[in-house]
């Protein structure tokens, strides 16, 4: 019997698959709720007048405004849009870059820690810029040392058996990035008005670590706050305070040999240095609760006059000034070595952040244009003025050009050849460094073994690390180049 299909039959059949429809509707709803892909098409749609839109990643949130100012000037000149995206904190950024490298979703331009860009280059994530960029215009101590793979750097990799084959395969002389931000750590900053109140000469920086302690004692004796460093960050006590002082105490070559495990670290000078560091606690020269202060809070503490001394780098100075502290009230000086130091030197500028074009960029030619503009005198000056940080481009120490705080930093570096310490082993390797970090934190809180025992344990740990790394052989000696 022929049967006519009615509307109600169709409806019944359709409602029979109700769960399927519900599922489909839910899926569709879910898909619409997904975040939009921020690909080039989406960016172009947002900026219809631009022919090309580039994306740049950085992890320095306070640099974003600086880069945006440079991007605006770049767009006015070329019509190319550069979208600046900042991801903070550092560990999140590192993880994001790792993930994007593996999924091939890196932005056109990537900011990365100077020295660490080689890992990305070895993974094939960066465009080879050899022959496309040059050292011209960059400050001494930046491009030639950090962006070009030098023979010395490559030799140091070869000497280390743990270096990956991919890293060793990178050709000497090649360039994968350009320096964008320069500076130097190991600066100390005294509050001048507090020095004056303590009867100190506010224009005279302490020449030795002992003098530094004496000055701090006078300041705290006058009822003023002491030293606030970012002790919560375990890198700060060794990297910013102890090591830069100790390298002057024994000289750079002896220092490298000791940190490399070729000469004993458990020597009287090192123990004396640890004792001096310990005295900051025993004389109660740290501000209370210093172990729980991180980098930014330490700067805030100093800017709010709740500490008389801060330690950091050129970037710290910029941060303090942007927090509203009068730069004229800050006495900037290098971390001093202990009395009887073998060497005394001034820190030179070196590259801190590199900028690279990634292999995932769809517009490498335009990205190269941006790289050149952002590191040009015009772009860098704009960045310096807006972000209050020191570009790696050679700039005049003129407040009108770079802003007052950066002009002051530029003056500090004037005449410097731009070498930092030239030391390859600035801290002991592997777990020996972890032990040093712990020891210094213990000295800050007034706990732990005696400094003698600390030095001995550190030496033992360093020997164990080296024995494993070099399979019982001595580590190869690194000749530290002379300071220019």
């Amino acid at each position: 019997v022929k049967r006519t299909v009615t509307h109600s039959d169709v409806a019944r059949r359709l409602t029979g698959y109700r769960p399927l429809w519900t599922m489909a509707a839910l899926l569709a709803l879910g898909l619409t709720a997904l975040p939009r892909v921020s690909g080039p098409a989406a960016v172009l749609a947002a900026h219809p007048r631009s022919d090309v839109a580039l994306t740049m990643w950085t992890w320095k949130v306070f640099h974003k405004s600086g880069w945006e100012a440079v991007a605006a000037a770049f767009k006015a000149k070329t019509g190319i849009t550069v979208n600046i995206q900042a991801f903070s904190p550092d560990d999140l950024y590192r993880t994001k870059v790792r993930a994007a490298t593996n999924t091939r979703q890196l932005p056109d331009i990537l900011s990365y820690w100077s020295g660490a860009q080689w890992d990305l280059a070895a993974a094939g994530a960066l465009m080879d810029l050899t022959g496309k960029v040059s050292a011209e215009g960059f400050a001494p101590g930046t491009y030639a040392q950090s962006s070009v793979l030098t023979k010395d750097a490559h030799a140091a990799w070869v000497a280390n058996p743990t270096t990956s084959k991919k890293l060793l395969a990178l050709p000497v002389g090649h360039v994968f990035s350009v320096p964008t931000l320069a500076g130097s750590p190991n600066f100390m900053m005294f509050n001048k008005s507090m020095m004056k109140k303590a009867g100190l000469n506010p224009d005279k920086a302490p020449a030795t670590f002992e003098e530094l302690i004496a000055d701090l004692k006078k300041i705290t004796a006058a009822g003023q706050p002491g030293f606030a460093a970012a002790v919560k960050n375990p890198d700060v006590p060794p990297y910013w305070i102890l090591c830069p002082a100790y390298v002057q105490a024994v000289g750079r070559q002896a220092y490298d040999d000791q940190m490399n495990g070729l000469k004993p670290l458990n020597n009287p000078t090192f123990v004396h240095m640890l004792d001096l560091f310990k005295e900051l606690r025993t004389s109660r020269l740290w501000v209370p609760g210093v172990t729980n202060i991180d980098i930014d809070p330490a700067d805030v503490t100093f800017a709010q006059q709740r500490s008389s001394l801060d330690v950091g780098g050129t970037y710290t100075f910029g941060a303090i000034v942007s927090l509203g502290m009068d730069p004229k009230n800050i006495l900037v000086f290098n971390v001093p070595g202990p009395a009887g130091s073998v060497e005394k030197f001034r820190n030179g500028m070196f590259s801190l952040i590199e900028e690279a074009i990634t292999r995932d960029s769809r517009h490498p030619a335009e990205a190269l244009q941006w790289l050149k503009f952002s590191t040009s005198a015009e772009g860098a000056a704009l960045f310096a003025k807006t972000a209050n940080d020191l570009p790696a481009t050679r700039l005049p120490a003129d407040p009108k050009v770079v802003g007052a705080p950066i002009a002051q930093i530029e003056r500090f570096f004037a005449g410097s050849a731009g070498t930092f310490t030239g030391v390859t082993h600035f801290v002991p390797a592997g777990a020996a460094y972890t032990l040093l970090q712990k020891d210094l934190q213990q000295l800050v809180v007034g706990e732990g073994d005696s400094t003698d025992m600390m030095a001995t344990a550190l030496q033992k740990e360093l020997d164990a690390v080296n024995a494993k790394t070099y399979k019982g052989q001595k580590p190869p000696r690194v000749i530290v180049p002379p300071l220019k």
Binding site: R94, A123, S164, K166, P288, G289, N292, A431, V445, E447
Partner: protein, 323 residues
């Protein structure tokens, strides 16, 4: 040569009928349930199972996080932090000990505080409802902001110092604050953990109390049982299954959670609050590069998992036996 009959089962008499009857027994639209499960299952397979397998494999390799090649190191990553490197092994042991301390103290304290609050609030009335909401607030507001608030409470010159000074007890105020003094930092962090987990326990106990048979409690009261005997001999045994769940979940969280410590002390001062989870995080995200970070972090994570798994099994056995 002996030939095996193809599809031998099909020759068995009645087999087809049996299959047909089974098929017939399937309810209409039996696949709907599977369909609704599919997205979650797919999500787990893509995100959960993939990550777990990836991390497990990684614990036997060295990887810089960028390149496509991994270097096989076998059990070296495990050996490194268990005994191979003295400083790292010491740090790992200290961290594991801190984890054990937290796992032993935080869940028990949370249960005790939660039960006490639930008993106090197990009555009707507006005031009671208001307090229920107030006491539950830490559970819904616990996050980065509250951890920073606790930092302000603990810091030198903070709320706690001011309170003790006002009570004429300045000698109890530590020079470096509670989080800056190694012997006090971990207990201070545990107080925060208890503060944030007790409301959850309170809610579960409160729900349990409201399902208790009132007649049993009334009968006990009529027999002359006071509040304490009723709690000890009636309420506590009846709420024991809830305690089991709370203890197992609490221990799991106490061992896995490192966010509180990361934000409040970053494992310091001098490693006084370091936890295995925090070490995993630090190795996996901070060292990186050519270092052994990712593989080492994964190996540490799997060791912690093994520890948690054994602990959970022991707990489950013990509590089940008692329940």
């Amino acid at each position: 040569m002996k030939s095996w009959p193809a599809r031998a089962t099909s020759t068995v008499p009645g087999a087809r009928a049996l299959r047909r009857s089974r098929r017939r027994r399937l309810p209409p639209r039996w696949w709907v349930g599977y369909l609704f499960m599919a997205p979650a299952l797919l999500l787990f397979l893509v995100l959960g199972a993939y990550c777990v397998t990836f991390s497990f494999a990684l614990s036997f390799f060295q990887w810089d996080g960028f390149s496509t090649s991994w270097r096989w190191v076998g059990l070296d990553n495990f050996a490194y932090f268990l005994y191979g490197d003295p400083a790292t092994a010491q740090l790992f042991r200290d961290s594991l000990l801190h984890n054990i301390e937290i796992a032993a103290i935080v869940p028990i304290s949370s249960c005790l505080v939660g039960l006490a609050l639930a008993l106090l609030l197990n009555r009707s009335g507006r005031v009671s409802r208001l307090f229920r909401t107030l006491y539950y607030l830490p559970a819904i507001t616990a996050g980065v902001a509250t951890l920073y608030t606790w930092q302000l409470i603990y810091q030198p010159g903070g709320v706690l110092s001011a309170l003790l000074t006002a009570l004429r007890l300045p000698t109890l105020v530590p020079y470096d604050g509670w989080l800056g003094t190694p012997s006090l930092a971990l207990p201070a962090v545990m107080v925060v953990m208890i503060w944030s987990s007790a409301p959850g326990a309170m809610l579960m106990y409160l729900a349990g109390l409201q399902t208790l048979d009132k007649e049993v409690l009334d009968a006990a009261a009529m027999d002359g049982a006071g509040a304490w005997p009723r709690l000890r001999h009636i309420i506590w045994p009846l709420l024991f299954p809830i305690t089991v769940i709370l203890m197992i979940l609490g221990m799991d969280v106490a061992i896995q959670d490192y966010g509180t410590v990361y934000l409040m002390t970053n494992g310091g001062p001098a490693g006084a609050t370091s936890l295995v989870g925090l070490l995993v995080f630090q190795h996996a995200t901070q060292m990186g590069g050519t270092d052994t970070g990712l593989g080492l972090g994964s190996a540490m994570g799997w060791t912690l998992f093994l520890f948690t798994f054994v602990l959970a099994m022991v707990n489950l056995r013990l509590f089940r036996a008692r329940a």
